[in-house]
Structure formats: C-alpha cells, structure tokens
C-alpha cells in the first residue's frame, strides 16, 4: 500500500512536470517571442531592456527552471492585460470555479444514482429507454447551445433567471441572489457528467444485480428498497470512483465554456480572455493550476478506490 501511494504520487509529479514543460515550450516557441514585445509602437531600446529584465536572452532550460521555481512559490508573473499579479487574479476566481463545478458535480451524481438505478432495475422498460435517450442526448448536446437555449427560455421568454454574472450588480450580496445566478450554469455544466454517470451507474447496477449475493438477499425476503440501497448500489458505486477521476478534466473543460456563456467570473473565463488577448502569464498560470488540481483529484480518487473496496489490494 505504502509503495503504491508513493509510486502514484511520483507519477502525478511526473505528469505535472511534463505538462509544465509543455506549457513553457509552447509559449516560448511562439513566433517572435512573447506578444508583449511584438507591439509595433514599442521603442526598440525599451524592448531590449525588457528582454533583459525578463531574462528572455537566457537559454530556454534556464528560463524554464526560473519560471518553474517561481510558479512553485506562487509567482506566475504579472498579467500583461490587467497589470496585476497572475496569482492574485487566479486566487480571486478559484472559489467561483469551485462553487460552479462542485455544484454541477454534486447535481450530476445525485441525479445519476436514481436514474441509473431505475434504468437497471426496470431494464428494457420505457423508463430505461427514456433514460438511455436522455443520456445519449446529454453527451451529444453542445454545452454552449444548451446554455443559450436555457437563456432564451428562462431569461428572455420567462424572465425567471438572470442570464449572466454571479450577483445582481448594485445590490447587497445575498445567498439567495447567488443561488439564482448559479442555477442555470450549474445545470448546464452538470449535463455531460450526468449523462455519462447515468450510463455507468446503469451498467454497473446491471452487473451487480446479476450477482449471487443479490439473489440470496432476495431469497431471504429482504425488502427491495433495502436490497437496492444497502447491497446493490453500494457495490455498484465502486467503479464510479474511477469514472469521477476521468470526468474531472472534462468537467473543467466544460467550465471554460459554461463560464463564458453565463459571464461567470471563474478560472475558465479567465483562461479564454487570456487566450484571446495573448496574456501569456495568465493562461500559463491557469493551465498549470488546473492541471495540478486534476492530477491531485485523480490521485485522491485512485487512493479512495482502495479504501472503499477492501477487496482491492493496491500494488
């Protein structure tokens, strides 16, 4: 167990190291160096001074080592666009993205469990077909289109929900106001994981329900609810953990789009704005931060796997 944990942590660190190197190499292979120095109205002598002060004349590995050392201590450089530290920009937006993605994930799991279970128990019934069709549509619908359709329905037509932002501008902060703004983005972001998870819960439950111990439990007269909840679902949940690990990067990719549709001030929208304005320190910082988050969450789900299921010995 201990060696497994150590090895998984080492693997995670290697992935992060490779990602950070990739990020750095991509940005530094930009034609003509960082865009900051490509502005036509910049005085050549100023540009030269900036090159030196930014250390852009050093060999790439030296620059990379310096950048990585700074990044590890939370220094990602100053944003070209906002003239403040990238770290401060990111810190302000981390809670917003966590709130949105966390709500979406909880929503997806809470809905996928009953949907998948019903599908598996009443296999090949109309309920099962309905759930399958919905799940199928859920993986195919473009996130941004779903978001716009919801804005058309709930903001433009019905006027029930706000179409953008986290709070109503000009009013005092209240939890109710935040929740009203959170509803649509969270539902939109939850759609893809919900659809995926429902398919997995169904498949997993179908497997478990065919096991001998379920037949035994039924034979001894256990009520169906207790059978499903206590015996079947618990075992069906174990494979879900790995799925959650795989879903995290997709969820954060979806957050980029969702935050852009609903003008939600999170890391994803920060990344898009930075990409459009070529604000390299910011997009490098966000990509590295998000990668680190994903690697850590994968590590946690992997380790939980062994804790949740004692039959599995991690090696």
């Amino acid at each position: 167990m201990k060696t497994y944990v150590v090895r998984r942590i080492a693997q995670g660190l290697i992935v992060l190291f490779v990602v950070s190197a990739a990020i750095f190499v991509i940005v530094h292979s930009a034609p003509g160096g960082p865009a900051l120095l490509n502005q036509p109205d910049m005085d050549p002598t100023v540009a030269k001074e900036m090159r030196q002060s930014l250390g852009l004349d050093d060999p790439i590995p030296v620059q990379y080592a310096r950048w990585l050392r700074n990044a590890l201590t939370g220094h990602f450089g100053k944003s070209y666009q906002h003239s403040i530290a990238t770290a401060d920009l990111m810190v302000a937006r981390i809670p917003n993205t966590l709130l949105l993605s966390g709500t979406a994930l909880v929503l997806a799991v809470l809905l996928a469990l009953p949907l998948g279970t019903i599908s598996a128990v009443y296999r090949y019934s109309w309920l099962d077909y309905l759930a399958t069709v919905v799940a199928f549509a859920g993986v195919s619908i473009p996130v941004f289109w779903l978001g716009i359709l919801m804005i058309i329905l709930f903001s433009v037509t019905l006027g029930w929900l706000p179409s953008a932002g986290m709070v109503t501008i000009g009013t005092a902060f209240s939890v109710g106001d935040l929740l009203v703004h959170l509803v649509m983005p969270a539902v939109v972001l939850a759609t893809f994981p919900l659809a995926q998870l429902t398919r997995y819960v169904r498949a997993s439950m179908v497997d478990v329900l065919a096991q001998d111990y379920i037949r035994t439990a039924r034979a001894k007269g256990l009520p169906e609810a207790a059978l499903l909840g206590r015996h079947a679902l618990r075992n069906a949940l174990i494979p879900m953990l790995t799925v959650l690990g795989v879903l995290t990067p997709r969820l954060l990719g979806g957050a980029v789009i969702t935050e852009t549709i609903f003008a939600w001030p999170g890391l994803g929208r920060l990344a898009v704005d930075a990409a459009i304005t070529r604000d390299y320190p910011v997009i490098m910082g966000v990509t590295l931060l998000v990668s680190a988050f994903v690697v850590v969450s994968n590590l946690v789900t992997d380790l939980l796997y062994g804790v949740v299921d004692p039959r599995i010995t991690l090696q």
């Binding site: 693997q11 290697i14 992935v15 490779v18 990602v19 990739a22 990020i23 991509i26 940005v27 292979s29 930009a30 034609p31 199928f136 549509a137 993986v139 195919s140 619908i141 473009p142 996130v143 941004f144 289109w145 716009i148 359709l149 804005i151 058309i152 433009v156 037509t157 179409s163 690990g245 795989v246 990067p249 954060l252 990719g253 980029v256 789009i257 852009t260 549709i261 990344a271 898009v272 930075a274 990409a275 459009i276 070529r278 390299y280 997009i283 490098m284 966000v286 990509t287 998000v290 990668s291 994903v294 690697v295 994968n298």
Partner: protein, 285 residues
Amino acid sequence: MSGPPVRSILYLWRRFRRNRLAVLALAYLALVHVVAVAAPLLAPYDPDAMDLLDQFAPPSREHWLGTDETGRDVLARIIVGARTSLAVGLAAMTLAIVIGITLGGVSGLCGGGVDAVIMRITDGMLTVPTFFLALLVLAVFGSNTVNVVLVIGATGWMVVARVVRAEILRTMPQDFIVASRALGVGALRLLTRHLLPQALPSLIVAATLGVAYAVLTESALSYLGLGVQPPTPTWGNMLTGAQHYVWKRPILAVYPGAVIMLTVLSYNALGDALSDTLDPRHAGT
C-alpha cells in the same frame, strides 16, 4: 483461435438495419455531407453578403430562415458552415487516427520500455485538462482553421492508440502472425497487412466517435472565438454572433446549435450501432 469470421457487407447491413436510430442517423449524415460538398451550388445567397437594410428579417420566401444581424442569409451561412465544420471534423479525426495508429502500433510491436513510455504518455494525456492546453496553443500560434485541426487531432488520438495496441496484443500470439514472423515478414508489413485489418472494426468505431468529438470541439473553440475566425462561417462561430442578439432575435441561436447537435448525435449513434454490428462479441444479440 483464428480471427473473427469473415462477414459479407450484405450481412452486416442486415444487422445494422435493425437499429432504426442508426439508419436515421446515417441518412441525416449522408444529407449533411452532400450539402457540405455541394454548398456553393446549394447556398441560395453569398453567405458573406450583408444587407444592412434587411437585418433580422423573419423567415420568408426569399430567406427561408431569415437574416442575421448584418442581413446575411442564415440558411446560406448554415450550408456553407457545414463545409468548414465537417471538413475540420474529418481532418482532425484523420490526424488523430494517424497519430493513434503510429503510437499504438509502435507501442504494441515494440513492447517493453517503449510500450511503457508511450502508454504513460497516453494515460497522462487522458488525465490532463487538454482543453486548457488547446486554448494555450491557439493563443500562441493563432486561431485559424489549420491550427484548430492540429489541436483537435493532437488531443483526440488516445483512444485510437489504446485500441490499436490492444488489438495488436490480442492478435500477436495467433498462429498466422507467428507464421508470418517465422517467414521473415517485416514489422511495417506485419502491421499494415496483418495487424491493422484485425483492428479495423474497432478503428471504424473509434473514427466515427472521433468525428463527433472533433465536430463538437471545433464548434466549442469557434464559439469561444478561438477557433475558425469570422467571417468564415462555421456552426460554432455563428452561435457567438447569435448570442449577442439573443434578446432581440433568439431564434438565430437555435438553428446552428440544432445542426451541431444533430450531427454529433448522429455520429455517436452511428458509432454505437457500428460497434454492435462489427464487434463479433456482440454477434447474435
């Protein structure tokens, strides 16, 4: 154990035909691809022709789907947009397949350390948030059609690599491969003549699902403003324009999204049906 039994096209079609949804999907896809190829002949107007006196026109005999914020014909833009969206989707999928076959092939044939390294890279690519890396690459190298294809291809090959490697490992111990190797058949010939044909059913399924992924990703990137740039119409960047005017003419946002969804849904449905049809393990179900 020999390979899967040889099946005639007719037999496969009979099996496939039983899946109504997949047949519908195939019909829709055929239509969209014909429209895309024949777009210049079919588009009723120049998709970029503006008419500022005829903005936000409702559907009429002249403009079947109305006009957008600069008076451009929406139907013409959707038809011409089909070209770009599908071309990007198919090109990106092709690139993903080529990368996947190369890496999966090398991994499966070489084994050992090479295999381990390639598979760790594949695992790594599946666990990092590639969408953010895609944004970074497009920011650095510029958002244009070619770069979008490269980015989607470079982030979509992992499943193909795994499939090819798995099929090679499954096929390698079989007698006809052992015999070929004993006869001194080279690695490349072994791969292209003997191993890849075995992997073909799985590859076709992966390719079909890959187009769905590519079309969806292209439209997402174009929607964000980092994909194919206006005025070239794609279904994704049409939505960006439409969202600005969602309070004025909400219907403009419905059309492009609907065709994206139908296309992605059809490719997914086709992929699922093909996997049922082609996979011998599903035979008789």
